[in-house]
Amino acid sequence: MSKKFEKPKMVPLPSHSIVPERDKDKTPILECQHLGIDFGGLRAVYDLNLAMGRTEIAGLIGPNGAGKTTVFNLLTKVYQPTRGTILIDGVDTAGKTTAQISRMGVARTFQNIRLFNNMSVEDNVKVGLHNQEPYSMLSGIFRLPSYWKREKEAHEKAMDLLGIFHMQDLADAKAGSLPYGAQRRLEIIRALATNPSLLLLDEPAAGMNPSETAELMENIIKIRDTFQIAILLIEHDMNLVMGVCEGICVLNFGEIIAKGTAEEIQSNPVVIEAYLGKKKEA
């Protein structure tokens, strides 16, 4: 059914994570050390160690409630971690806000789509371009030359980005009126507009049919190849995960229970147990 994508050789890093061989000599784009968060006594994420290569496509999987989205919220500082450190491109993110994390090159999509529903599709992308095409409020109000220049650039960039998913014709539509699949694609485009070096996708294939998912897989690879960025995705569709992810990390009850390539994960008994439950001993 789905096309097989060529997988690179994975090599271990000193931090016990594996990255594609092509990325091994560069600073990992993301490195979590002993990351953890408690919600009023509940240990939502515990001792998470993770590293990602600069052009790696990695998967974060696990049963419902395992804490996957919480990890994304930690990485983007929607939640402040209780313990541990997050390095983005080797830079510590302690004390950074969500907006600053975006400027450091991390972009994300949301499990329950979060578009700017009352704004047009093009404006949604332009909001993503906020820090790429800056000009002051005053030049905006008085339409100074920087306004015209930046707006023109923003328009062109927005159209180019919409072109990735062939959405240029929808530029004037209201984001909230788009069909579900188009909303998911627009969210990815908006995230790409921030010019990220790490893209976090939270269940990008949710609600998509098999042919849409297959198209999405090709697009994920295409995005990585075009922009040369790392992509970390949460997904329940195992075809997609096993198809595109080079490194996979399995989370259960907030802890990593396995890391490895698709083949390693598929045959790992701990993973099978987490998903299907323990076999009854005879």
Binding site: F116, N118, N131
Partner: protein, 358 residues
Amino acid sequence: MKNGKKINSAVLKDYLTYAAVALAFVVITILDKQGFINNSTRGLLVPICCYIVMAVSLNLTVGILGELNLGHAGFMSVGAFSGVVASLSLAEAIPNPVIRLAIAMLVGAAFAAVVGLLIGLPVLRLRGDYLAIVTLAFGEIIKDLINALYVGQDSAGLHFGFNFRNNISSINDLHMEEGAKAIIKGAQGVTGNEKLATFAAGFVLIMITLFIVMNLVRSRAGRAIMALRDNRIAAESVGINVTKYKLMAFAVSAALAGAAGALYASNYASVKASTFDFNQSILILMFVVLGGLGNIRGSIVAAIVLTILPEALRSFENLRMLIYAIVLILVMIATNNPRVKTLISCIIPKKKGGPANE
């Protein structure tokens, strides 16, 4: 696709708004010159201009930024009184009334913007109803403070005093020279104000307000503000500084309200702090909601209609406010109840391109 073609529909609407306002100004001025406008209607012209500016500026916070503000009249009040102090204290230095009015409005806008920033900084992290009650509280505090404020002027300059513990009972307690001029007299407010306001000044202020608000909305900052309204978390995730843009919207809105306040005050011989109370804030909020959240043109129309309506109902004497209240409730139900809406759309065929987000 060319850039030029894209911009059209939105920008065209903006130009039409400017044109409509200018046309209305010209028509009313001509009618007035021909003697078609009676005194009571003429008296409404400047207040209507002020209310339009108030409504458009409040729409920036409530409709565009999406935060409920129940104390907008507070900014109007700050602008009104700082503007009056400026215009009265400069009476000798600058005899030209037009320049003095312009200065009064600028001073009013500046003071209101500063107050907006001071208020916004601590409270903008509050959400929804909690922010609403804090803006209400600030509106009341501003009213009380100005009620207790005494300002006088002598050759040494301006003198200020607050009557907190009945320590000031008249302007004489400010210890000024003989023959000093009283400007603000506590709860009495300003008396003997010079009437500087003109309909033309109101028109100019409306045009400036429209220019600022509509251009802001169609710029990077405006998109950031609207993104915060639609989805704060997503806006943060694409790198938008929440505090900065909330404050920006709040301060611009406050500044415009301040200018409107200064104009409003300079239309009357006496001005009291109690004019700018909670009811005034609610009245302006009503313009915004009835005109449509985020709809600038709607705010203008609502401000005009709802200022004229009570006057038009004057022949009903005591019943007029009652009728006004009933009309208000019926309009809210007619525009918001799904069943009534369907009924209306059956009777009146819907206009092409109606509200798309329903």
